[in-house]
């Protein structure tokens, strides 16, 4: 398991004269579980789209699974940030998951619908995201969080070698969020995972490495949050923002994500202690 799955060298990307990504070097080995953190507009989704070949870099080279981006389509599972699906598109949940098994090229677009075997695979994928009971319902009738889980099932239905997820836990409730993160850890045994998140607290169990994306990319081979990462992600020097935007009483499951730089924003009180009276 030592082959390089994602390899970016000197990648620049700009949009309308505004630089989005600069001098990105990133090399991800097979079996990794990478969390990409960064602020809105930092270029996280752009980085995923570059890897997928949906957009082209201004400079630099990109190799995905040893191929130029866009040519390994059938071996990658993708969860877009905003699925551009019309609210009333007439499709059943099962058929929507089947879309994840369309083969690349002209061979894949021929034909009427997916095979019995594909449908069985789709049902198994729906079971993994806890939606098997809804397989035959219309997708339009599902809630936002349920739809998100359908799209996750679509991303993993074809047993990809590489899973690229853009904000997988967005609009998913906390019970399903934990189940989902546990599922990703389980899937990581078979596939490389890259997960985009704008929320440091989503740095889940099982994440093996972290990349901070804010025009530049900093790779960290261990799942720790450093003060530098924290500053880069939240873009503040004076410490006027806190990564955990949660105020609550009682029994809160809580993890401490490593110590910040000693010279960083300590007067703000972001050192997280466990919730008071419940402990």
């Amino acid at each position: 398991m030592s082959e390089v799955v994602i390899d970016l060298k000197g990648v620049d990307y700009s949009l309308g004269g505004v630089s989005i990504l600069e001098g990105v070097d990133l090399s991800i080995m097979a079996g990794d579980y990478l969390a990409m953190l960064g602020p809105n507009g930092g270029g996280k989704s752009t980085l995923l789209k570059l890897m997928l070949g949906l957009i082209r870099p201004d400079r630099g080279t990109i190799r995905i699974l040893g191929l130029p981006p866009g040519e390994a389509g059938g071996r990658i599972g993708y969860l877009p940030q905003h699925t551009h699906v019309g609210l009333s598109f007439p499709i059943s949940v099962l058929d929507a998951v089947c879309m994840g098994m369309v083969r690349p090229g002209f061979g894949g677009i021929a034909g009427l619908s997916c095979s019995r075997e594909d449908r069985e695979k789709a049902r198994r994928a729906l079971k993994r995201v806890n939606l098997e009971a809804h397989a035959d319902r219309a997708l339009a009738g599902l809630s936002g969080g349920q739809k998100q889980r359908v799209f996750i099932a679509r991303a993993l239905v074809d047993n990809p070698e590489l899973l690229l997820l853009d904000e997988p836990t967005a609009s998913v409730d906390s019970a399903n969020r934990n189940a989902l993160l546990a599922l990703l850890t389980e899937l990581n045994a078979d596939m490389t995972i890259v997960m985009v998140s704008h929320d440091i607290s989503s740095l889940a169990r099982g994440v093996k490495s972290v990349a901070c994306v804010n025009r530049h990319v900093h790779f960290h081979a261990a799942p720790v949050i450093t003060g530098d990462m924290y500053r880069m992600t939240y873009g503040t020097e004076g410490g006027d923002s806190c990564p955990v935007e949660l105020v609550t009483h009682g029994h809160v499951p809580h993890r401490v994500l490593g110590t910040h730089d000693p010279n960083c924003d300590c007067e703000h009180g972001c050192g997280h202690s466990h919730g008071g009276e419940g402990e």
Binding site: P90, I91, S92, A96, I109
Partner: protein, 266 residues
């Protein structure tokens, strides 16, 4: 029902059914891909083809078909290249095609009584040779959609995801817009180019709210189109009003009635 004994009525019914099948299929794709505006642009630009045919003194349907497919391809390429301003360019081609048609007709000697029939349809004037051409187009459109159905479904459902899977989305996008062009030419005979949009969008809209698969949406739209066309024809005959307008009147009335009936999805 001795009216059915007349050849022009038989032709009109055949043309209506052919156009309905194609409208049901292509109209569904137009609605789910949200390319109604492009379709309107193609329909109006096709008037340039009508003008060209009159000026050159050639058969109208083949010339219009060629011209419309050309205009459709230009629009398809524009929407691929300059996404964010595509609507503006389509608006320009929309108007340019119409203007070209009128100018060419002005330059053509003689008075063209047929002009209105291309704007508002002349289903009762469909000839046997028109029917054969329409049937050929219908078979072509039907086969292409059937052949690439899975591709059209995945592009319509989630274009970005389809691209990430390596689906040739650009090809499918251009193909769909050319098919819309062919479809528009067929329907011009039935309801005219100004009313094409109603027949392309109303039946799929009513169908979409009541089904959970693209296939059944196409079938329901086709059935609705056939009903609207035949009912419109009958009303046009009994009240002696323009057939195209009567067909659209039936369709729009059904559209508003359908809004009152609660939608049901499987």
């Amino acid at each position: 029902m001795d009216i059915l004994g007349y050849e022009f009525m038989q032709n009109a019914l055949a043309a209506g059914v052919l156009a309905s099948v194609i409208c049901g299929i292509i109209g569904s794709l137009v609605v789910v891909n949200r390319i109604v505006f492009i379709s309107g642009g193609i329909a109006h630009a096709s008037y340039g083809g009508v003008g060209l045919a009159f000026m050159l003194g050639l058969p109208v349907l083949p010339v219009t078909t060629a011209f419309t497919v050309f205009a459709a391809l230009v629009m398809a390429l524009v929407t691929l290249r300059a996404r964010e301003r595509a609507d503006t360019v389509i608006g320009a081609i929309w108007a340019a095609g119409m203007a070209l048609g009128i100018i060419l007709l002005d330059l053509t000697p003689g008075y063209n009584v047929d002009l209105m029939s291309y704007l508002f349809g002349s289903i009762l004037a469909v000839t046997r040779s028109d029917l054969w051409l329409m049937a050929g187009l219908a078979v072509l459109v039907f086969c292409l959609v059937l052949l690439f159905f899975r591709g059209f479904l995945s592009m319509s459902f989630d274009e970005e995801f389809a691209r990430s899977r390596g689906v040739p989305v650009d090809f499918l996008h251009c193909l769909l817009i050319v098919l819309v062009g062919l479809c528009v030419v067929m329907i011009i005979r039935v309801v005219g180019l100004i009313l094409v949009i109603a027949l392309l969008t109303i039946p799929p809209f009513i169908a979409e709210r009541r089904t959970s698969s693209l296939k059944s949406m196409m079938i329901i739209s086709t059935v609705l189109s056939v009903v609207f066309t035949i009912a419109g024809l009958w009303i046009s005959y009994s009240l002696d009003i323009t057939s195209g307008a009567a067909i659209i009147a039936v369709a729009t009335l059904s559209f508003f009635l359908s809004l009152l009936v609660p939608e049901r999805k499987a």
